[in-house]
Subunit: 160 residues, 2 copies
C-alpha cells in the first residue's frame, strides 16, 4: 500500500484507509517488539479516525470517555509512545498529533496543513531536506521539522 496510499485530501474510503494504516502499524510494532497496550491502541485508533491533527486534551477526553484515565499524562504518554515508534507525528504548528499515514516505512515527513478543512497530509520531505542542508552551511541537522500551512486542492478549488 505504501506508495498507493490514498492522499488524505482526496476522496477515499476512509474505513479501508484506516484499517490498512492500522494494520501496517501493527506489523511495524510486531517487528520492533514494543507493546501495544489497550490505551496505546485506542489512542492510535482515535488518531486514525480522521486526517486531522488532534490536541492531547482532545485525545484525553476520548480516552477518558472510554474508561481510561482522565489525567493529562495518560494521553501524553500514549502519544509520546506512538511518536517514538513512528506511528504518529507531532505537528508543532498546531500543538497537536496526527496518525502517521505511512507507518510501513521510515520517512522524513513534511506536513501539509489545510487551514480550511483542518486536514493534514504528509509529503516527502527528502528533497527539501537536501536543499536545506545545502543552505545550512556546516550546521549538523539532526531533526528537521517542515510544516506548510495553506489550502488543500479541494478547498482551494472551492475557494476560487
Amino acid at each position: 500500500m505504501s506508495t498507493s496510499q490514498p492522499d488524505a485530501f482526496g476522496d477515499h474510503d476512509h474505513a479501508v484507509c484506516r484499517a490498512a494504516t492500522l494494520q501496517a502499524a501493527l506489523d511495524r510494532l510486531a517487528q520492533s517488539g514494543a507493546r501495544l497496550t489497550p490505551v496505546r491502541k485506542r489512542t492510535l485508533e482515535i488518531l486514525l479516525e480522521s486526517h486531522r491533527a488532534m490536541g492531547a486534551y482532545e485525545v484525553l477526553g476520548r480516552l477518558a470517555a472510554d474508561g481510561f484515565g482522565r489525567q493529562p499524562p495518560v494521553a501524553y504518554r500514549a502519544l509520546d509512545f506512538l511518536v517514538e515508534q513512528g506511528l504518529a507525528h507531532r505537528v508543532q504548528r498546531l500543538n497537536a498529533f496526527a496518525a502517521c499515514l505511512h507507518p510501513d516505512r521510515d520517512h522524513a515527513p513534511a506536513f501539509l496543513i489545510c487551514r480550511n478543512c483542518q486536514r493534514v497530509a504528509e509529503a516527502d520531505a527528502g528533497p527539501a531536506a537536501c536543499a536545506l542542508r545545502q543552505s545550512a552551511q556546516g550546521f549538523h541537522v539532526e531533526r528537521l521539522t517542515i510544516e506548510a500551512l495553506g489550502l488543500c486542492p479541494p478547498c482551494a478549488a472551492q475557494d476560487a
Copy 2:
C-alpha cells in the same frame, strides 16, 4: 550588510551586530509607517541581546523589570507586532521568539537551532521551499515553517 551579516554561530562583535540589525529594523519600520512604541522597541532590544530564542514569559519578565506591564498580553502583543512587521520570528519548536537577523529584506527563513548552545540562526529556505512545492502535489502553500534542530559548527567541533 545583508549578505555579509555575521553568522549567528560564529564569533563576532555582537555590539555591532545588534546595532546594525536594530538600525535595519528601524529603517524598515520607517518605510512601513508602523509605530515603534517604547514597549515594542524595548522588546526588540531584548531579543537582540542574544542569538537565542526567548520565551514570551522571559521577555515579559524583562519588560516588567523595566517598568512596563507585567501581564502576558503585554509581551504577546509586542512580540506579535514584531513578527507581523518581520522584525522577529516565532520558533515553533521552542515556543519562543527570536529577533530577525535580516530585517533589511524579505526572506523565507529556515531556523537552525543548536541543541547545545541554544543559539538560533537563519538559513535561506528558498531552495527547500521550491523542493517542497514539488513534493506537495497541488497543495497551495501559504506559510512554510522549516526548523532544524542539531549542532552548530562550533558545538559540533567541540563535541567530536
